[in-house]
Subunit: 332 residues, 2 copies
């Protein structure tokens, strides 16, 4: 990895990112307040519990910055896009959490835990609608990018369901699932932001490719944190393993191990419980799977940065680099 | 009710409506096929099972005809809008059916019955996305009409949940729920179609008002059919009563009856089962509630038609009148 990935974010950059987060939070708050004023108080308040509970705002921040990197000047033009992606992202979280029976999200109880899955489903639908209402302000190219992105999320979720506890899941399956579910929204957001900024389709696709690589790194870090644990995740260590989700380290180890170790790993994964933690980590270490995942993270981030650096240096570009660094900082 | 409401639809009108339905079916089929070609086969096929299972296509037909009544000439301009409303309508059905644990929809098993509620939720999300992708082609006024319509659907669904088995539900509550849940999509569709046709905002709102009245009539007919039974409904007689949904005849009877009859009606509603049918119908008849509901249907339809007739006579207007008549034909 190149050296300047390790640059410490200057206070200026940190301030800018924090200001961006605050700006997004204020706009999201306004959406909820406007909906309450229009008489949609119950659904808006329910949805608002998760929407306004914070979160890193990674996607909307990235969109605002990508717009600037692409030469965009009028911030007002891109704000609805950034909010749209955050609203749609939150909608998928609310619906996913129902399916996963998750208890917490962004540090607060999930909507279905508070109000039941019927209301949570409706609140998720409402968030989708708010997102598409904002996205629908843009021209058809951008609407289609958003729609294709959401369709891929749905397809990948089905694919993921089909591979629950499937020990034969291949790395190719994995990449197909996570590129659709996690990385595509990063890619679509960056590409759309670039188009809003007035960049040509070719260059916008490049910035989309940056988002894709960043999103893949982001997902693999999530996989690592599921095994290594991180209280900031707001979900218990091992949630994915318990749900039977085939994360990259598991898939790698299942492919690489043979004989008794492979048999034992299968047993540990299928019958996973808290008492099996140490053994799981040992087996993954034996297979070199955690190190392999770390290498992939670095590769994806390196590719992301090399694309990014084709764009002229600017404060916004420094901020994106800093944001990119934060992805890896989550476990390092 | 005016006499010509009873006109028999001419073969020409019937043919036109049937041709419209076929046209819509072909477009919907194309959407599914295109999604399969794009690699979204699993979710598209799942969603397609309900989307392509037929149905009256009342909403998209109405939109195509309203566009013409409003002076629209280029049918291609309004097709995406008609499809968008049908897709979104189907999305809400798929999600509603999960919540209601419904076994059948449009004569076929519901998606969650076939594939489980996890996949059904995702299929519903996908249908929403397809709908908004088409709606997003239009300018912001129309996107906002669609978004507000969907937000009202969500709000009304929550309100309806809050009134399940609530014997104190007022006619005002009822109208607030059904205008949001059922009539608003008719209203929004007609209003948006009129705008697409180039009508001014004031006249477009008028056509929206026609849709609202028609939608209210449609809902009250549904309420009547739930009690009187109709095999074409594709749901068992009494489904609403069993689910504790407060339909108009129940609300009216609870308001009107006193003493023993009121007490008995409460017991029948709360502890409803098939053995209580005759008694329920007797109590509703005693209160005049079925007749009251029929009167309201006629009033709403009369208002709908009187608005419609402010627009110049045309083949399309005759078709809408015919469609309006079909609403009442469902129980008469």
């Amino acid at each position: 990895m190149s050296k300047d990935l390790h640059m410490l974010p200057s206070t200026a950059i940190e301030d800018r990112l924090e200001a961006g987060r605050l700006e997004i939070d204020i706009h999201l708050q306004e959406i909820i307040e406007k909906a309450i004023a229009k008489g949609h108080g119950e659904v808006a308040k329910l949805a608002g519990q998760v929407l306004l509970a914070g979160g890193k705002r990674m996607r909307p921040l990235l969109i605002l910055l990508a717009h600037e990197v692409a030469g965009g000047i009028d911030r007002d033009q891109v704000i609805p896009l950034a909010l749209a992606f955050e609203l749609i992202h939150t909608a998928t979280l609310v619906h996913d959490d129902i399916n996963d029976k998750a208890k917490q999200r962004r540090g607060v109880p999930t909507i279905h835990e508070r109000a039941g899955s019927e209301k949570a489903m409706i609140a998720g639908d409402w968030l989708f609608v708010q997102g598409f209402a904002l996205g629908g302000r843009y021209d058809v190219t951008i609407v289609e990018i958003m729609a294709e992105c959401c369709a891929r999320i749905a397809s990948s979720e089905l694919q993921q369901l089909a591979h629950v506890n499937d020990l034969a899941t291949t790395p190719e399956d994995y990449y197909s699932i996570v590129s659709g579910k996690t990385a595509q929204p990063f890619a679509a957001g960056c590409q759309a932001a670039a188009l809003v900024a007035g960049l040509g389709p070719e260059q916008a696709r490049e910035l989309g490719e940056f988002g894709m690589e960043l999103g893949l790194a982001f997902q693999i870090v999530d996989d690592l944190l599921d095994i290594l644990g991180d209280e900031r995740m707001g979900k218990p260590r091992g949630a994915d393993v318990i749900e039977g989700k085939m994360t990259l380290p598991l898939i790698h180890a299942l492919t690489l191990l043979h004989g008794d170790s492979r048999t034992r790993l299968s047993e540990v994964i299928v019958g996973f419980n808290d008492g099996l933690w140490d053994e799981l980590v040992e087996l993954l270490t034996e297979a070199g799977s955690l190190e392999y995942a770390r290498t992939l993270v670095r590769n994806h981030l390196d590719r992301a940065l090399s694309i990014l650096r084709q764009f002229p240096q600017s404060e916004a570009r420094d901020c994106i680099e800093s944001l990119t660094q934060m992805v890896i900082d989550r476990y390092e």
